[in-house]
């Protein structure tokens, strides 16, 4: 297994917010999410606040916000009054920003911000880049905790589950299990003690949706969890977060403390009899812990190995008690659904996939970043209109969705709408929402080998099909990329992939053959080129010259 040492530790700082005494004429929203933070975004906040004060701009507010979405162009600063977005801001050169802030007219209307923002629909991420992630007042000011308060005041737990059921919300962790069904199972399960767990163990390489949500709007997750806890009669909650996300962990801990102090967590929330508290548990770099039974083992302080289901965690989970496990994004949708109504949420989407989905765009794409779109938008709209197309105008080759359990979708299917069902039909998987775009410089056999290497490394070793199968599949793929394989090897690979898919214990093993199947389905000619002609069409793999038989 690869080692994951202490990643960048966040510097704890006081909120560097210059608030205005009177009316705010203009504000500067400085993105302080991980990607911009690594480019000294915090220095921008500090310097900008100081320079505004020095320039006598007393009616300007400088605010730290969460992810502004367009990570590729960070660090970012936005002036919401005019809609201006400043990209690649240097902490030492803020003159342009100060000038722009001086010229904001009172009551200005924001100008359109281009297709990257216009085509998105923000539900789970509606507060992202709008609120200070460490300010409860800011969250409440944008409608935060309205949903929880109205739930506690006017609704029964059955009614809450009914609203979620009508909204059509499905699990955003990837598999798309109907959220209301899971909630109902937990609510009806027998047991005095029940738990709610937020799965924030976002392990898919190339996916950073959950991290951005946690860093940008942590109170929303706490509110969503509290509503879920009310609906399933739970009193304790855990957020299982990767230790590789130090900023998200720090912000969550701050949010929990502030929410406890304000009476939104703890005993007698909002002066009712409802009691619910949340703790953060750190992951320790095991991909398999995203699987719910492995996650539970890890929260209990054990090795994160999955166990056979049933019994499902909804019946027998943490410490043997009924446990509700939902993904970060699922919880982020809950407050919005209860505030705006199930009909509103159900009106968005396609077929059985209702609502929106957050995607992390990465790879060879111009606008790397975080986007949220209604279900049913086509891949082409996401990649070309929002994502800005391929870097250097190179030809699009494939988009990889669903992480190591997903697949690669070629150019022919760019006009397919994105939903749980269509992605499965295309041989891929919704997954947690990573979209990695590849151009003609990517070799698809090498990509399959890369994912198999990942699965081999991350396999927990409990069941044989996964432990042995992923290693053997990796070796076969490695042989192909070295030009040392025969057609028999390819047949063995396909047979083995089928066996692993059918017999592995958990999602990791069952999904491991997916990248192989999908690349074989759409790019079999590349496999043939490696095996028969011993060339790598993309020029990625190093194939030693053929020994000429005399």
């Amino acid at each position: 297994m690869s080692e994951q040492p202490a990643a960048a530790r966040p510097v704890r700082h006081r909120a560097a917010v210059a608030t205005t005494a009177g009316e705010t004429r203009a504000s500067a929203y400085v993105c302080e999410a991980a990607s911009c933070m690594s480019a000294q975004a915090h220095d921008i906040t500090v310097n900008l606040a100081a320079q505004c004060a020095a320039a006598g701009l007393t009616d300007v507010m400088v605010k730290r916000v969460g992810c502004l979405g367009l990570c590729a162009a960070g660090p970012l600063v936005e002036i919401p009054q005019t809609g201006e977005l400043f990209a690649q801001v240097k902490p030492g050169d803020l003159g342009g920003l100060i000038t722009a802030l001086k010229h904001v007219k009172p009551g200005a209307t924001p100008k359109p911000q281009g297709p990257f923002f216009e085509k998105q629909l923000r539900v789970a991420t509606e507060n992202m880049g709008r609120v200070d992630p460490e300010s409860l007042e800011d969250y409440v000011g944008r409608g935060g905790y309205e949903a929880l308060q109205s739930v506690l005041a006017d609704m029964t737990s059955t009614e809450v589950r009914e609203v979620i059921s009508q909204s059509g919300l499905r699990g955003r962790g990837g598999a798309g299990y109907p959220t209301a069904l899971k909630w109902t199972t937990v609510a009806k399960a027998e047991g005095k003690q029940k738990y709610v767990i937020c799965n924030a163990d976002e392990g898919d390489p190339g996916a950073f949706m959950d991290r951005s949500v946690l860093e940008s709007d942590p109170f929303r997750i706490l509110e969503g969890m509290a509503i879920a806890a009310f609906a399933v009669h739970a009193t304790e909650g855990y957020i299982y977060c990767r230790a590789e996300y130090p900023l998200a962990v720090a912000r969550l801990r701050t949010a929990i403390r502030l929410a406890q102090r304000a009476g939104f967590l703890g005993a007698n929330i909002a002066d009712t009899s409802f009691t619910f508290d949340v703790q953060v548990r750190l992951g320790a770099g095991a991909f398999v812990c995203g699987e719910e039974t492995a996650l539970i083992a890890s929260v209990e302080g054990k090795r994160g190995t999955p166990r056979p289901r049933p019994p499902y965690p909804a019946v027998e989970g943490l410490y043997g008690c009924p446990t509700l496990i939902n993904n970060v994004e699922t919880f982020a949708n809950v407050p919005a659904i209860l505030r705006k109504g199930a009909d509103w949420y159900a009106s968005i989407g396609l077929g059985k996939s209702r609502g929106t989905k957050v995607f992390a765009l990465a790879g060879r794409i111009v606008n790397t970043g975080l986007v949220e779109v209604p279900m049913g938008m086509t891949l082409r709209e996401i990649i070309y209109d929002i994502g800005g197309g391929i870097i250097d105008g190179r030809p699009f080759k494939a988009v990889q969705t669903g992480g190591p359990s997903g697949g690669c979708i070629p150019a022919d299917y760019l006009d397919s709408p994105v939903s749980y069902e269509t992605l499965i039909d295309l041989g891929s998987f919704m997954g947690s929402g990573g979209m990695i775009v590849m151009d003609d410089t990517a070799c698809m056999v090498d990509v399959a080998r890369y994912f198999q290497d990942f699965c081999r490394d991350e396999s927990c070793g409990k069941c044989t099909p996964c432990r042995v199968g992923t290693t053997q599949m990796y070796r076969l793929l490695d042989q192909i990329t070295r030009g040392a394989a025969t057609m028999d090897d390819l047949a063995t690979l396909e047979r083995l992939a089928g066996i692993v898919q059918k017999t592995a214990l958990c999602g990791l093993g069952q999904g491991a053959p997916n990248p192989i199947f999908s690349t074989l389905r759409y790019f079999r000619d590349e496999y043939m080129a490696h095996i028969v002609d011993r060339v790598c069409p993309a020029g990625v793999c190093t194939i030693t010259p053929v020994e000429v038989m005399a």
């Binding site: 994951q4 690594s38 950073f208 996300y245 750190l282 320790a284 929260v299 302080g301 790397t368 970043g369």
Partner: protein
């Protein structure tokens, strides 16, 4: 429920053991605090040696074998001391297709260290990470806690040599 086993004394009078002890006590010195305790020990000492593993196990009432099993299962924990400087190379998908392979090859060629190895003089450890979540900066590396994005092999090696 009272803890039935006697609490052991820390391996040394190093003050950092207090941090570890406090973290375990806050969770009631119960077995489920194991991962949190290992995090605390690694944060304090940089790595987990045998005395740390045994101390944590004895305090929480977890057999040494199970502590070792947990510490070696999770890739975040390391049982070896790290070099003076660390360089983490992200090998997530976005970084991989943007040239993380070339970075690792460059480091191995120029500095003679592979991932998970430390230079003979103990100056530099090279590590890999599955995904730092800094995909917009791909290929990304973390040198001594500072993220560097969109970096080439030659630039990185030059910087590492300068340290």
């Amino acid at each position: 429920m009272p803890v039935l086993h006697a609490k052991p004394a820390p391996p040394s009078d190093d003050k950092r053991w207090k941090i570890v002890e406090t973290r375990m006590r806050r969770m009631g010195d119960r077995p489920y605090a194991l991962i949190e305790a290992l995090h605390a020990a690694q944060e304090a000492f940089g790595y987990l040696d045998e005395s740390a593993l045994n101390y944590v196990g004895d305090t929480l009432g977890v057999p040494h074998s199970r502590v070792y099993g947990v510490a070696t299962f999770y890739s975040y924990f390391t049982l070896k001391p790290q070099g003076e400087h660390t360089c983490v190379v992200c090998t997530g998908t976005a970084c991989y297709i943007n040239g993380a392979k070339d970075i690792l090859a460059g480091i191995e060629r120029e500095l003679g260290v592979k991932p998970k190895q430390t230079t003979p003089d103990g100056k530099l450890s090279i590590l890999t990470a599955r995904c730092l979540g800094a995909c917009s900066l791909a290929p990304a590396v973390i040198v001594d806690g500072a993220v560097m994005g969109k970096i080439g092999a030659a630039d990185l090696v030059a910087q590492l040599e300068a340290m």
